[in-house]
Amino acid sequence: MAEVRPLQIDVSGIRKKAPAVGIDLGTTNSLVAVVKDDIPQVLPDEEGEKLVPSAVRFAEKGPVVGRAARRERVADPRHTLYSVKRFIGKGFDQVKDLRGNLPFEIEAGEPGQEMVYFRVEGRRYNPVEISALILSRIKEIGTKRLDLPVEDVVITVPAYFNDSQRQATKLAGQLAGLNVLRILNEPTAAALAYGLERKAQGNVAVYDLGGGTFDISILHLSEGVFEVRSTNGDTLLGGDDFDRVLAQKMGEEIKKQTGADPWADVSLRARLIDEAERVKIVLSSADEETFSLQDSSRNVRFTRRVQRAELEALLLPFVERTIEFCKAAIKDSGLSLGSIKDVVLVGGSTRIPLVRKKVAEYFGAKLRHEVDPDAAVALGAAIQADVLTTGREDVLLLDVIPLSLGIETMGGIVEKLIHRNTTIPASASQIFTTSVDGQANIAIHVLQGERELVKDCRSLARFDLKGIDPMPAGLPRVEVTFLVDANGILQVRAKELRTGKESSIQVKPSSGLTDEEVERMLEESYEYAEADVEERLLREVKVEAEQVIAATEKALKRTDVEIPADERKQIDAAVASLKASLSDGSDRHKIREGISALDGITHPLAERIVNVSIQQALGGKRLEDVEKKPLPGA
């Protein structure tokens, strides 16, 4: 595939950038947080609001993200997308049941492509693009608050996200011009925020019920080590479902009154869902609330008292399902239910009294909601971002892979190589051979899921081990190593054991996007960048050129390194040429060429300087005194 890199040229150590931040990219709301003076804190937007609604509206002037978009969800449902996280990294077949329950349209990708699209005004958008727009807005908020460009980020995902969903989220970050340091599991992040604040020890459960997803994680905390023992969940279960069932029930009653089905009308559906959400929230603290939907043009005049008990009856099946996931997680953790001391509640939906009651009943443990359930995940992500960039060593997260990884074998059966809830990084090796004389390729199909059959698991990657030397069948021995990295993302490597040759393998990313699409998205992401990208790239290359010239001139002044006359002449000429294109100042490609030329010519000199420096260092001087080299990230 096309190599996807952030748009910035890496000049770390030269250009100033903001400290790494943590981003909770939520189904309903997103947040950004940073560690400042050792304390994690949420960065609010221009109006002082912490929560940024994860909604995008395609207005005439271009996309609008956040509260302005969320406000229009009801007035302009056809141009407003929300809860997009429910679709990221998924195939159409997995989400088609949601169609007709949403006030916007979804459609399938090309045949065989694991992707969902949204149609807005004749244009197709995929969930990665929409998430990138939300992340761009988050980046803008962080940049404004920190007064430095936000680049390095940790983005959280539900623990139960599979490889494809993780890849797609990472890609969205890259499209937004971010350097994604880590994809972090939401409950783990919340545990970090909770555990550090309270200096907690022992076994803890994190129950995370958000707008669209549910996660349960069981952790063991011990002296700064946060060891996840097991995780389970459902990436299609959350507050959105609660809104939907209430809205549908009210819709049926309206239909009985008027004879027309409000659910079939996109605008009324959007208003029903919106009102259902409002009523649901009120009923978390009140016993009764009025559900109201008035629309004179459609002859709808509906007012109805809703009791909390009535809502609870609708929610009960969902809440009971979450408890089943909790049971499975406890079983996999190898810990006893009684050993769980605290249950940390995360996600807006844990404000619902029925949820709290059922969770308390099952665990029989103390419910913890001291850390704001909306902010806990972002705060934890900020702590991890800090750990990853500042070298602090008091904290370590040991997370797990949520779903088993395996390969297809004879008869469409999946052979599991790495089991769910294995601590990551995790690796497994498998030896493959050929079945036909002279066979040069071996096809491998990697899958993720708990089911036995290929058709029931998520296909992650298909790749060929290529360039196997012609040998009789069964003789080649190709060792394939599957490594799940700390992001929960798969990396594959292959080696022919007889020759030691690394096989060329191409693993297609499993975000569901084709190469062409990724390229197009990268190009188009320029459109959405806040600043003119050309302008920014030019500025960056100019800074780099100035740095290189300064370093060269400093080196030329050294008396302890020999510089032959003709080498000196060449260097001077290259410096002069680079200075000329700098002062001309508009062609970044020309400046880039000048930097490369100067780099090449000064290479022998640089080597001699390093040698001299080492000699001096060995001679008792400190290396730092001899040559000051900027540290990466400093």
Binding site: L388, L396, T423, P425
Partner: protein, 207 residues
């Protein structure tokens, strides 16, 4: 063998080739799981090796840290579980003693269970509830006996100092005899598990 960092230059080293998990974790070839000690070892080492610590270094060092962490995770998970530890020890003993795994035996009905096996087949075919109940009870007896045998074997490994012998590479005959006995007991255990599974499935189908 578990020198993660170069003693001279303190740079992270590539993962060791062919190291067994006991040696990698730095614990003796014992069958006793010292839970607290193991966890402490694991946490201390993870704090140094985890890819979080090598993210900014990148390149080869990040690769090494991923590989070493993956190995460490595997070692901890395997050695903290008494049964997995036992099975793993058997695997490395068979390998280093040059004994091949008795694969064929795994598929055949163990002698101890031949009678129960045929009774089970018959009972399943006829749907004879009380016969199935008898088989179930008999299997439980065999399982209990086998667990006793396994406990004896654990004791024998420690008592005869076979772990130390393995580290030195001697007492090959005793270790071979031990490995064969252990293999037999573990295979019987697996077989019992599968038979119970079949009985369970049969019960589920009937209900």
């Amino acid at each position: 063998m578990n020198a993660d960092f170069c003693p001279a230059c303190s740079a992270l080293q590539p993962p060791p080739e062919g190291a067994d998990l006991f040696s990698f974790l730095g614990v003796p070839f014992s069958l006793e799981v010292e839970d607290g000690k193991l966890q402490r070892l694991y946490h201390e080492r993870s704090k140094k090796l985890h890819p979080d610590r090598f993210l900014s270094a990148g390149g080869k060092l990040l690769e090494y840290s991923q590989a070493r962490s993956a190995l460490l995770n595997k070692a901890y998970r395997t050695l903290r579980d008494p049964e997995e530890r036992l099975r793993y020890l058997l695997a490395i003993e068979l390998e280093s003693l040059g004994l091949s795994e008795a694969k064929a035996a795994e598929r055949n009905v163990p002698v101890e269970l031949a009678e129960e096996y045929f009774e089970m087949q018959e009972a399943l075919a006829e749907g004879d509830q009380s016969a199935l109940g008898r088989v179930h009870a008999r299997l439980a007896e065999v399982a209990a006996e086998n667990e006793k045998k396994l406990a004896e074997l654990r004791g024998r490994w420690e008592r005869e100092g076979l772990g130390e012998a393995r580290a030195r590479g001697d007492k090959k005959d005793e270790r071979s005899a031990f490995a064969r006995d252990l293999e037999k007991a573990l295979q019987l255990k697996s077989y019992l598990f599968r038979m119970e599974e079949n009985l369970g499935r049969a019960a589920a189908v009937r209900n």
